[in-house]
Symmetry: C2
Subunit: 219 residues, 2 copies
DNA sequence: GCAAAAAGATTCGTAGACAATCTTACAACT
DNA sequence: AGTTGTAAGATTGTCTACGAATCTTTTTGC
């Protein structure tokens, strides 16, 4: 049973940080767009202190870039950057998948399958938001299941930086069956406790996602 | 030839950040120690703004931990954390080494050997500082040589978090010959362009370092 | 037309104030 | 004595205002 109290992010800058992260990931701020302090203060209804501190945190995460005395702007990901992002993501997610397969138990495999089914159901409805949410849930399970909090942290950071591309990658309906098959392969390999297969399945999945995203990017 | 002007980190908070990072990595602030704003302001001779923003950045890097309304303190790395840190470091550095082997050219191999020789020379003199510096230079070459800036960023972050342990790992003189042999093996594999061997050599090196650090940690 | 100077905008950094929260010390009660 | 409740102190969280430094744009002078 869960007794932990819902610890609301008790600080304002925490909320600001979250809101900004959301806005950037969702594409509300376009890459390269400058983020002017005063505007953010007015829009969010908070003081400079909170905004600036939140920006520093996002800067460290790579979501925004700051040029001294010019201010922050939403990070641009060049095609070259995207290649590197996906390469690293593949490496980390393959490791995560492998570790999941190593430590898997009945319960975990069941929950993973449930998430996969939820994703498939979301695909059937066609709701973009539901698809993103369930797929995110799947990745989250993979990350936490690997038992390494630093992997979780880094992968989350990568996902955030990629998310702008990820939305587009979901926009190809003819790609969905393949995507589902890949994810199912991951879950199957993990349940079987086959480390090598799980790693390979994750690697392949990310590689395909990478191809789609990069192709989409050349517009 | 290098025409880049020594761009002094034109912002105060940048300097503060650097100084604090240094102080923490060097062990000047002990793990768990609280970092009181006012004290830092006085010690560094800067205002609260600069200190606070620098702290936010270090927090995102994992060097400090902040509890709302209690303030920041130097991050503690439990033995469990150390295991995870080294596991991830091994994964990333193996990848970096492998990529170096893949893209290696005459020039890179030469520079790498030079760094290795510098490290060996430093070991002969016995100067702790020189050893740390040359070894850091070696890792830096490995990171930049892999051609993935995100790998560089993450590995740098990991190194910083580990550095407190790394100092101790260097304090075992009888371990040095082995360490030198491992590093040389890495350089050799890279020059040969043998990807698998380079990965394996890196993995083994980090694993050994991990064992030493963890053993040292149980005191 | 073009370089230099001025003006405007924005960030960088400080100081001071006040509220919210945590910590500690002390008093009161059973 | 031990626990509870309250008050005082310390520290962080946040806002505002101000001036300096720096980047950008416009104007001026030739």
């Amino acid at each position: 049973m869960q007794l932990q109290i819902q610890k609301s992010r008790a600080t304002l800058r925490g909320l600001v940080e979250e809101k900004l992260r959301e806005a950037i990931s969702a594409g509300l701020f376009k890459p390269g767009q400058r983020l002017v302090e005063r505007e953010l203060c007015e829009t969010l209804g908070v003081g400079r202190t909170s905004v600036r501190e939140a920006l520093r945190q996002l800067e460290a995460e790579g979501l925004i870039e700051t040029v001294p005395h010019k201010g922050p702007s939403v990070a641009r990901v060049s095609p070259e950057d995207a290649v590197q992002l996906y390469a690293l993501r593949g490496l980390l997610e393959a490791y995560a998948g492998g570790q999941c397969a190593r430590f898997v138990d009945e319960d975990f495999a069941d929950r993973l399958d449930a998430t996969v089914n939820a994703f498939i159901a979301a695909c059937d409805t066609g709701s973009r938001q539901a698809m993103v949410e369930t797929k995110t849930a799947f990745y989250e399970q993979l990350m936490t299941g690997c038992g390494n909090k630093y992997v979780t942290k880094f992968l989350t950071s990568l996902h955030n930086q990629i998310s702008a591309l990820r939305f587009t990658s979901m926009s190809q309906p003819e790609r969905l069956p393949q995507s589902i098959a890949e994810i199912r392969a991951i879950a199957t390999a993990i349940r079987a406790g086959d480390v090598a297969a799980a790693e390979e399945a994750c690697r392949r999945h990310i590689e395909n996602a990478s191809k789609v995203a990069l192709a989409q990017m050349r517009d």
